[in-house]
């Protein structure tokens, strides 16, 4: 780099020597420049402050999100429980037994045989028969038999003797009456026996006490 400058200097040596002399570059003494401290310190403290506040805000927002998540989770579980309960109710309503019972209540009957209309050739296959309500399939189990306590055997009482007027009817009444009454009488008889027995047991004691 220096060679062109040397050439230049040697080509016109005397012209404006003083100017050249004046323009000669000298090494500038190194000057220590102190950067202003205030901006740096404020920048750092700003960053620090921003970081702390940001962290705080971030943390707060995460806490907020956690609150929101908890409440949304509980809402979701409530809703899903509700949905499942509703689905369960729906399944009960869709149960064929329930549908059939409702249909029977509305007066519907088990279908008869259908006829099929073939769209291709317009032929009717099968003969449709109207349903017969007597052929309804029983959809409810029979009522359980009534317990004996609520359904006692009928008791028969001897009709008072009405003379010879209706001998035939009387004969029937009498025969059934004697059957029914017979068992009843046996029962009372045994009861009386039992009571007598008690009495007999008690009686021997009485004189002793006296």
């Amino acid at each position: 780099m220096s060679s062109p400058a040397v050439q230049f200097r040697s080509r016109m040596p005397r012209i404006a020597e003083a100017a050249v002399e004046r323009a000669r570059l000298t090494v500038v003494p190194r000057r220590r420049v102190r950067a202003a401290r205030v901006p740096f310190v404020s920048l750092v403290s700003l960053v620090l402050l921003g970081g702390v506040i940001g962290l705080l805000l971030f943390n707060t927002s995460m806490q907020q999100a956690s609150f929101a998540a908890t409440s949304l989770e509980s809402q979701a579980s409530t809703l899903s429980a509700r949905e499942q309960t509703l689905r369960m109710e729906l399944d009960v309503l869709r149960n064929p037994q329930h549908v059939a019972e409702q249909a029977r209540k509305m007066g519907m009957v088990t279908a008869g045989s259908p006829a099929f209309l073939s769209l291709a050739d317009g032929k009717v296959l099968g003969d449709a028969t109207p349903p017969d309500p007597a052929q309804n399939v029983r959809i409810l189990p029979p009522a359980p038999p009534m317990p004996a306590v609520l359904n006692p055997a009928p008791t028969f009482v001897d009709a008072p003797d009405q003379g010879l007027g209706n001998g035939h009817g009387h004969g029937h009444g009498a025969s059934s009456a004697s059957r029914g009454h017979g068992s009843g009488r046996n029962n009372t008889a045994s009861h009386e026996n039992h009571q007598n027995h008690k009495h007999q047991n008690n009686q021997p004691h009485l004189p002793q006490h006296r």
Binding site: S66, T78, P96, A100, F116, G126, T129
Partner: protein
Amino acid sequence: MPPTRPQRAGLRRPRGSLRGAAHVRLRLGFLVIAMVLSVFAGRLVQLQGIDPNSYAAMAAAEGMVQVALKAERGDILDRNGKPLADSVDGEMVVADPYMTSDDAPELAKFLSSRLDIDYFATLKKLRETDSRFEYLARRVPSTVATDVVNAAEEAGFEGIATRPDPIRDYPAADVAANLVGFMGTDEALGGLERTFDAQLAGKDGSARYEVGGGNRIPLGESTIERAVDGRDLRTTIDLDLQWYTQRVLAQTVQDSRAESGFAVVMDTRTGEILAEADDPTFDANHPLESPDEDRGARSMSGVYEPGSVEKVLTLSALIDAGKVTPRTRLEVPGELDREDRPIHDWFPHGLIHLTLAGVIAKSSNIGTVLAADKFDSGELRSYLTRFGLGQRTDIGVRGETKGILPGPSQWTHQVQDRIAFGQSLSVNAVQMAAAVNTIANGGVRVSPSLIQGSAITDDGTVVGSDHTTTRRVVSEKAARDTAHMMERVVDPDVGVAPAAAVPGYRVAGKTGTAQRVGEECGCYDGTFTVSFAGFAPADDPRFTVYVVVQNPGNGGGGGSVAGPAFSKIMSYALRRYAVPPTGTHPSRLPVEW
């Protein structure tokens, strides 16, 4: 000097007694500090030196929550995806008697009026001493449980809470209950529930995380092991058809004053079981209200002798072997003397002339035995084995019986005579339905299936419609001829079961009335098994229906008891699946000559 000291001391004493010398105070202070510090040091050694881990664990447990994540049990579905069994979120209501014993009567009244629980039992639990945990109600729908507990808290009651407790619900109650089975409090107790428990149950998970004030702490410690839900089990059952079949069967069993009954509806082409009904049955939601023997599947576990329905198999095998045709003429005497005992028909007659079709139509034992005489040795047994008798169907129902097909060593001539008309061998209902279905399906036996797709039972058997196998048992012509003969059974003029006919359709069927082996004596005890098996439309079968009624008390036979039930079930199935009549003329095979 000594005398002066007391003087000084006397002068200083008031001050010294109050505050003491500075160095004394300093020493005292140091002493106190040293004592306090040595207590701290001792505590430090205790905390860090002796058992640091347990304290660390206690510190971690504080604010740590462990939650069990319940796996949802898979549903059991019918072929259209309707649930036969499903799981619902539920809660258990639990009490802490320590807190509830004071106002137990009021709380018991409150709870028993809102939950379906007994007042006195609840009262006892609420007053339990030495207990901090009592179950009050289990498997309560979670909305109900939460409402009740919230209401109780509002009313000022303390000490009751809820915990997750999934509910197993059977929306259709008794429909298919004998197949589906039921759940106990915590485990599967029967049926498909138990057989496929591994698939249905899934795997529970757990979650552990830190909470503060009821909320999960973000960035806090948390480990989650997700629950793996059970997989659904899809069956081939058609819920509506199953319901109808069960009601028809129940009516049949009641009206004939029978002991029990079962019915099977099978898709002819695929072998899928559309309905498998048992009666008496039970309510899967309340299994304990029914006796134990009603909770299994009689159709699979109960062996019985099929009776005349089996003649269909015998005669189709004879036709396939080329020994007879539907028009083969037979002279049927009123009684046939055989080696050990005479064979009779169910109706008294002298010498009659029946064709083979007539033997089926009139259900003649003697005619069948005479025809079966044409078999070579061992031929009938090999045919019956190919029909699937004596082997499990392996459709995935627990406790299936193999049935009894006598082995070659026990297969004497007398045994063959009786087997030819369906005695001296035992079957289960699905086995027999599949065998009759072979005739319906043009002589090809399709293995029956109850599970759609594929599933593995608890004993490791792979079952399901993906594993359906087919095998030809008799020729297509033999099957068609047999179907034609079976059509004569429901003919109002010549057949024994006109009540089994389905108006408008060609129906092929066969009645069965078999003597029954009593459990006590192991011999024929005078009771009967009556049955009807058939398929429709006879010339293009879609369904095979098999109805069996055990010990009817009204003395009815296969045609009069099981026939009408068959007709109703078949008619419903055809209607439901929109199967049009084929519009062809029914078979007119001669029955006599």
